[in-house]
Symmetry: C2
Subunit: 230 residues, 2 copies
DNA sequence: ATGAATTTTTAACGAATGTTAAAAATAATT
DNA sequence: AATTATTTTTAACATTCGTTAAAAATTCAT
């Protein structure tokens, strides 16, 4: 009876179903409360399950959270690859807005990831206090490299990284903290109105910078290609 | 002995000193942990005081936090008035960078406010769950109006609000979540290096938009005044 | 259908949370 | 100096937290 290794092997049948239910519930709870405020009992209730069952599938709360962070990072990298690929032959402005649309679609189908990022990104000083926290820098790092690899950029490398970081941080705030940001403007976080606002705000703020790093010193005038495959 | 109204009047002598110590300690703790994770005992320890003493000065944790949020909002509004006033006769780019410098100085002397904002801005859905949360929309609203009042802007009103909101949200992320953002770039949050990065990133990303709302459709070329007093 | 293996629930633990009441210590007043 | 008022500490409370161990229920193989 002392099978408390907390790692049911991979060939089992019924358990993977409830495991997935638990993970899905945990993502929901972790997307609504910062790590410390999200409790195992909340997750259990959200999964329709008694809370100690979670410890049957995950050794502890920290590893559950970290596993979710890992998943989120993977999903986000994979999606970004697709989105970059989809706009490689577009003009700058057009491609940028298409990229944003893909991002917004993703967030509409799957709102948890950016919320979890936004909720736990601000923990001050004590970097390793939050499990999985160490993956966030790596995530942004990867997206940076992906962008640099997929899109033909002529600007100085520091400017490129500056742009990518700023853009992603803004996206995390706009979409990860949408209830607050939307309410500031008298909108509803899930509304079409807010979605349109985010799209045009990202375009208005970041398009000049994007043009600059794609074609330095000529950003005022011409329409430019966004990509020439490396 | 049942003086448990928890509001020592305003003429008392020694109490206001420890009250201020407690508030200062609370700001520190609330700037390091999100509301729910910050505990009365942490605050007591940071103040060098037994934790129930906090309840002698504040009826409960929620009102302590809300009082701090109110203070922060006031300080931020007051500071913004000064900063706008200081750049009213500057050229756009110059004035904008001076404004950013003032903002960075403020944050260096007084890092807690933006951290507290960043830490608690992302709480999902349940708006009124976090005490003082209701002030955040009001804060951004006020800064918006201040900006519109102090700086002569010609762009459409929606674009102006879009700019102001985006800028402030970015500032909250850059400075309020600085440990994470800095570490992503291999910097230290409190370093001169990071400070310089923030300044040039804000300039690079937001200067085009600022020029556009100050002088629409001519943003590529001329140097413009940032202000003509109303 | 019986017995073994797996999955789920129940009960309980030690620790930490916010808050309260009373005792102790300090400061102020007379 | 004695008494009162104010400030601070001590002790304790009801909850909630994450986790564990054992019992119960379910599923699976034979």
């Amino acid at each position: 009876m002392n099978t408390r290794t907390s790692k049911p092997a991979q060939k089992e049948k019924k358990s993977i179903r409830t495991r997935e239910i638990i993970v899905r519930a945990a993502r929901k709870v972790f997307s609504e409360h910062p790590y410390h405020a999200a409790s195992m009992r909340m997750i259990g209730k959200a999964a329709g399950v008694e809370h100690p069952l979670i410890n049957y599938y995950f050794p502890n709360k920290a590893e559950l959270f970290e596993s979710i962070i890992r998943d989120i990072c993977d999903e986000f990298i994979t999606s970004n690859e697709e989105w970059f690929e989809a706009v490689k032959n577009s003009k700058t402005a057009e491609g940028f807005l298409d990229y944003i649309d893909n991002l917004l679609d993703f967030n509409q189908r799957n709102p948890e990831p950016l919320r979890i990022l936004a909720l736990n990104m601000s923990q001050a000083e004590h970097i390793s206090q939050i499990p999985g926290y160490q993956h966030f820098p790596e995530l942004i790092e990867k997206i940076c490299r992906l962008f640099e690899k997929k899109i033909a950029l002529k600007g100085p490398i520091d400017q490129i990284r500056m742009f990518v970081n700023s853009f992603n941080i803004m996206v995390i705030s706009f979409l990860g903290a949408s209830p607050c940001i939307a309410q500031v403007q008298g909108m509803e976080a899930g509304s079409k109105h807010y979605r349109e606002w985010v799209k045009s705000a990202l375009g208005f703020i970041f398009l000049p910078g994007l043009k600059e790093i794609i074609n330095p010193r000529a950003s005022g005038e011409k329409a430019q290609k966004k990509k020439a495959p490396r």
